[in-house]
């Protein structure tokens, strides 16, 4: 049922695309099959796999750094009011600093390097992860905390069995929104200052007015992210919420 609905939805999308390209004109908006052909060509030359791989690696590294740091800072801010008071203004500044400013400054200060690119992306994602996890840390159940205290549970046991399961929905939310945000920013970072990756390729295609290639890379990358969502994020979520009672 679910699968059938998905199939219908994707077919409708392709049909709309096909119709759209005929209304607008195939030069500005190429048909799906032209784009599919371009994907195949890029895949044959090996460029697609290389660029996708480079971009995915950047996404993975900056996402991991941002999630790890953001979770720790968010947890401490949610638990220690003094630290929250001290760090909150910084967080507000970082939250409202445009992504582009962070990226440009990172490139100016650290040069057009891989480190600068990854740091810029991580810094863009960090405050959002922090805010989400802080909300979770504020909502932690005090009664379970007290239970863990009177039974003298060690801090590692508490973290793993008492705190993390309560944070799981917040971590999942941060990861979800984070993943889509991070890959969009990675493309901009690549466009502005990297010699490879999906963002760089799209930049080149933009200069050559090659809409087919832009769409080819966009579609390929969305497909990869969809696969990650379906085969990695959703199973993890199901595992984390296995204790919840579901309607039979």
């Amino acid at each position: 049922m679910n699968l059938a609905l998905r199939f219908i939805s994707i077919t409708l999308l392709l049909a709309a695309w096909f119709a759209g390209s005929h209304i607008v004109g195939t030069r500005l908006f190429p048909e799906p099959q032209t784009v599919a052909l371009a994907i195949v060509q890029e895949a044959r030359s090996g460029a697609l796999a290389f660029n996708l791989g480079v971009t995915l690696a950047r996404v993975a590294v900056s996402f991991t750094i941002a999630m790890a740091l953001g979770s720790v800072i968010g947890l401490v801010m949610g638990r220690v009011p003094v630290f929250d008071g001290l760090a909150d203004p910084w967080l507000v500044v970082l939250l409202n600093l445009p992504a582009l400013v962070i990226i440009v400054l990172a490139y100016i200060w650290a040069g057009l390097t891989e480190t600068a690119a990854i740091a810029a992306v991580a810094l863009n994602k960090l405050p959002i992860a922090t805010v989400t996890v802080r909300e979770g840390a504020r909502a932690l159940d005090r009664t379970l905390d007290e239970m863990a205290m009177v039974f003298r549970m060690g801090s590692l046991v508490r973290l793993r069995h008492v705190v993390l399961p309560q944070l799981a929905p917040y971590l999942a939310a941060a990861a979800r929104s984070g993943l889509s945000l991070v890959w969009k920013i990675v493309l901009i970072v690549e466009l502005l200052g990297r010699p490879n990756g999906v963002g760089f390729e799209i930049g080149v295609a933009f200069q050559l007015f090659d809409v087919t290639r832009i769409l080819a890379y966009a579609v390929a990358f969305v497909a990869v992210m969809l696969a990650i969502e379906t085969f990695l994020v959703q199973p993890l979520e199901r595992h984390a919420s296995r204790w919840r009672i579901r309607p039979a």
Partner: protein, 230 residues
């Protein structure tokens, strides 16, 4: 080994006095019941004893190692861990045999793999009891563990508690507002006044739990009621 809590006065929220001057001593292996009207500060007293509330004047002395088994008013189980894991996390040193015996006594044997959300309140309270016993505590603290259960179920759980305590004597502090429950379970009853709580009387019950007759229980009950009314 003695537990002796000296006089303490807790004052919180604009120096509202919850507990008056009071001192309680429970002998090793003794089951003591704290009985008092609702809202007299019994739970506050327990929180001070188990070390969850430090904002008070006075002192609390626990047994040497101070291993605590606590049954809160609510079961307070981790909903994302199974019944067995809930107990094991609190009592990592408990052997498989001990746990099996405990689960069998409390009728939890077939619920070991269930999650707390799948249990009724009565079963969840039993898990909380199992968890408190599994740590083999030197002091067992029970905060109205049978409240909001129907009478027959509460009676069954009380009987199970008696069985567990007789199998492995443990110094126990039971808070309840029911005089009957206290008489049925305790070796000594502390009667507390209305807030701010003070000890009105300490009533020892020197007959063993198993051989208490209805007559004796009634006479103890009358004695307690006289003291409450005095």
């Amino acid at each position: 080994m003695h537990i002796r809590h000296k006089s303490y006065r807790a004052a919180r929220g604009g120096r509202l006095c919850v507990l008056g001057e009071l001192s309680i001593a429970v002998a090793h292996g003794e089951v003591a019941a704290l009985v008092g009207p609702s809202g007299c500060g019994k739970t506050t007293l327990l929180r001070i004893i188990v070390g969850l509330d430090h904002d008070f004047e006075g002192s609390v002395r626990l047994p040497a190692h101070g291993r605590l088994g606590v049954v809160f008013q609510e079961p307070r189980l981790l909903p994302w861990r199974t019944v067995e894991d809930n107990v094991r996390l609190a009592a990592p040193q408990a052997s498989d045999a001990t746990l099996s015996a405990l689960f069998a006594t409390l009728g939890l044997a077939e619920h070991r793999r269930h999650y707390p959300g799948e249990l009724s309140l009565g079963l969840a309270r039993r898990v909380a009891l199992a968890r408190a016993f599994a740590v083999e505590p030197e002091l067992l603290v029970l905060d109205e563990p049978f409240v909001s259960l129907d009478a027959p179920l509460a009676a069954r759980l009380r009987a199970e508690l008696v069985e567990l305590v007789s199998r492995r004597p443990v110094t126990t502090l039971l808070v309840t507002h029911s005089v009957e429950e206290a008489i049925g379970l305790a070796d000594r009853i502390f009667l507390l006044s209305a807030s701010p709580a003070r000890v009105l009387a300490s009533v020892p019950i020197d007959r063993p739990r198993s051989s208490r007759t209805i007559d004796q229980l009634t006479s103890i009950r009358d004695e307690i009621e006289r003291k409450i009314n005095a």
